[in-house]
Amino acid sequence: MSKNAGINNAEITSGQCAKLYILFALGSSALILPTVVIEIAKQDAWLTMLLAGPINYLVLMIYLALADRFPNLSLVQYMEKLIGKWAAKALMLTYVLFFLVNSALVLRNISDFLGLSVLPITPTWFIDAIFMLVVIYGVCLGIETMARTGEILYFWSTFVIFIILIALLYQLDYKNFEPLLYNGILRPIKGLYPILGFPIGEFVFITMIFPLVRKTDRKKLRKSLKLATVMITAYSVLLTLFLIGVMGVDESSRSPFAVYDLAKNINIEEILVRVEILVAMIWIGTIFMKLVLCVYVLSVSTAQLLGLSNYRPLVVPFGFVVLPLSLIIYRNIAHARVFSAGVWTVYSVFQGYVLPLLLLIIAVIMKKRDNSEGNSFENRYQANESIGDNKSGDETDSIATKEPAPT
């Protein structure tokens, strides 16, 4: 189709990839995670967040090393090249399940958050259903649209976060950080435990996005992802600092959505009060991006598992699966705490680091490299263009009536 001839925006840029990565990390975790971490690490939680940076970086290195060996294939696709067809299919299934559960959890976060803070009377399933509708629409539009949406949401959320932090600057009380490292360095390290699984283990989604990054941008990708890791660390450290500094350890480890409660403290001249709905809006935006990416990766990996030619028919059925799953995945927020701290970390670490690391070791031992193209469902425009080039403009003149200009 000539529709998109001329411009090759078939794939996403490295910057877009990095922004998706940041949004995924900010997603639900920035809203929920600080509470859990502060509960364990108390006033040293910000150190924990700082320590999480290098771990995040190391995990990213595993993914990038794999991507170097198989630049045009997704995790699910190069598995097949590494461990054989049937073993790979079995392993793929675990990833499909992982992303299914992950999607359900993220959706549940939204309804928990909104049900508790903004819309207490509205039934949970209604909130979920509305959200899922938008997500399905987004996933069906494809990765390019998602990436562009992500860019706008990224700027918007950065802007709002900084406004909020600046508005709270004068309330920052350094006494809340004392005593520093009272129980030694061990406590902030213990606080790392939930972070390992949520969100670092979930970052494995990015291996499905790598092959979609524009080929000319691949060199920049490494740099921009490293920058993204730094940004993620900076965001989480800043948020945790403000949480502890403004609300204190006690209050922030008790509130289920600490950053939302943080914004309630904003009070500028009695005019700008209760702007927490703004925070709610940006969290809806970032959680939306996370869910869209999860459902996208879920659908794409399933389509690759089943050898389908298009992932889009899977999106709506998965929507119907994710929605009820999110309603039953845990009973209440107390249950969720236990689940996310105990169960999820083990599961997520296994899928997120252990399996990719094993694959990398196998690849290194077998000295496997592969530059072949896999079906990523997104090369439509590119294909058009390459053929569109051969088409010359001779058909144009035959039909259009060209005529000399009258004076």
């Binding site: 925006n9 819309l119 702007v275």
Partner: protein
Amino acid sequence: MFGDYLKGKSKSDSNNDKRSVRAEKHEQEGMNPFSNKPLSASLEQNMELLKRELGDASDIMYRNLELENADRTKLLIVYVQGMVDDDMMNEFVIKPLLSKLSSDQAESTSGKFLELMKSSLLPTGTVNELADWKQFLQKLFMGYAIIMVEGTDKALAAAISGGEKRGIEEPKTEMAIRGPREGFTESLRVNTSLVRRKLRSPKVWMEQWTLGEITQTPVCIMYVKGLADEKMLEDVRERLNGICIDSIMESGNIEELISDQKWSPFPTIMYTERPDTVAGNLIEGRISLLVDGTPFALIVPSTLNMFFQTAEDYYQRFDIATFLRMLRFVSFVIAILMPSVYVAIASYHQEMIPTRLLLKLAAQREGVPFPAYLEAFIMEFVFEILREAVVRMPSAAGNTISIVGGLVIGQSAVEAGIVSPAVVIVVSITAIASFVAPVYSLGIAARLLRFLLLFAASTIGFYGIGMVMLLLLLHLSNLRSFGIPYLTPFAPFKLKDLKDTLVRAPLWLMRERPQLLPSKNKIRQQTEIEPRKEPTQ
């Protein structure tokens, strides 16, 4: 995916087939009765055929002449009255033909008389030789005078088109305080000349098309060779090729037929009435489509950003231009969001309002019989009615409507306690904000979306607004205009292009053309002109 593409290709091929098949059918149905026949050598026969097939239309004039040369050559002049300039007709066609021929001219035989006329007897700018009826009819209805000679199966068309036209006036829809005051008219040639007068470069190229099987509307693609992307140009041609329709009345028809996304309230093709806007966009590497019969020219590709810009931004100082642009963005957001945010706050999130204001609002709303969302919806709807009425009514009655609307709806409704003053304020601010959009078609998107958002806000408050905004964002990210993502340079992010978006950077900083257009020639200014510094002593 290649299959997809192949399908797409065959589709576009079948489009072309469809076009020719349709054209054939058209001829069979007798729309173009004798278009492929050659002209006859006999004047009698030609005139008879014309009169029969054109239904002896009263505005088509036939003028028989007999010359005083040796052969007593007989001529027939055919023209459409009102489409040719009468003075030119007399002065440049009939007078030279009737004047005494010089002796060597008089010797010519009738076979060569046509050549003679073409080379030395018709003092008009353009003279075309016609061989068949298709060309004949085309020229006839473009306002040419057509001269046939007895015994020759060819005819000459002399360009003396004229008739009553609207003069060049100030553009009605895009006012400017500073900048040229001329706007496009309904005549294609006048319009192209207006652009040419601004871009006097040999690199300004034009392609002439004729679209619409009955209207035969001349359409002109205008671009700067070397700046406009060839592939995009090819894309434009291909899309125009795909048009097979009976009539093109206005550039809006073309806009609707060739835009990327058919189902969207957002315009993906910009239109303008100002030659300077067209010229400015051509220089940036865009392509313009000028259509005969309308003062609105199309510009492709258009991004959302362009709908917030006016030509005036570049004539004023950059600081005020930047301020005005931001103002426009903010007004657009207000025009879309204000009523829904009011409804969401009033019905779901009262805690966001400062206490003193809340008390004031609550006091106002006391005794108002409707809930806030119904109130807002009614007022918005009434406002839309008022707006449409003012646009359609003759201007004398328009004043009455605005008085009636303003007094009755604004004041009396509040005094009667049917609506609260807050809603009236909200609706008025929204209304004024929606008029700030420099391009009317973007304002239309805002008008439609306002109601969608109002509905969402009244159902689930801010969550609904958030969801609709997300949908909107996804939709906007998905839109393309001739392959260019609609939200460029924000998404995909192009740092260099930000100089001409929310802000308008000083001209001496804008050294490069927009990155979003895939043209190779990027540099606008070679030298680095910076503001002159005070001489140091």
